[in-house]
Amino acid sequence: MTDLLTTTEQILHVVVIICFIGIAISLALLLYRVIAGPTQPDRAVALDTIGINLMGLAGLMAIFIVTTKLNDVILLIGILAFLGTLAIAKYLEKGVIIDRDLD
């Protein structure tokens, strides 16, 4: 029984490290898109996707160092990324984010 537990813990450790590497590659590619994106909407959407990758990174870190304190942080990053997505959508559609009066 103890052998099974240690084996699964080692498998989890390896899987988390593989996921870290995958997210790191994704962040590097997104950073390239932010720097060299041909148009401004490309850069905006890439920055938004970096926020989503940060949520995944915080979740993997909460698995890696076994803790529950990071759940609030994940929720916070999610809310801020939602506000960022909203601002990007309004900017791409209208050009202004906070307008004086809507009607």
Binding site: D72, L76, I79, L86, V96, I97, I98, D99, R100, D101
Partner: protein, 142 residues
Amino acid sequence: MYKPNDLILRTTSSLIAFILLGFAVYLLLAGHNSPGGGFVGGLMTSGAILLMNMSYGADVVKKVLPIDFTKLIPIGLAIAVGTGVGSFLFKAPFLSQTYDYYTFPIFGKIELATAMIFDIGVYLTVVGVMMTIILTIANDQD
């Protein structure tokens, strides 16, 4: 002029703003022994006000929430400094803190610390600074 269709945003943002304000109060109260505190709480509150600004326009929010956000900065700083100076009344060094356990009818026995008042000062300052920056940039368009 071209008018975007944002019915879903307007309907849900009145609900989401309340959830954000509740999460902000939770972060403000939880920030002594766990992640959170005055800074993140103030940031979340200004996020909720920013969401209302984005979905309803600046004029409506100014009518609903008639607060001059620049006045919140000196109020918050005065509360934060007053917490530090108040320790002189008890012959203690500057910014020293204390805590005690009290029993309330519904919540039971909870811990109240004077660092909480300092956190509320930081909260008001952060809300004032964030909303001043955002509304100043937003009003710059003409």
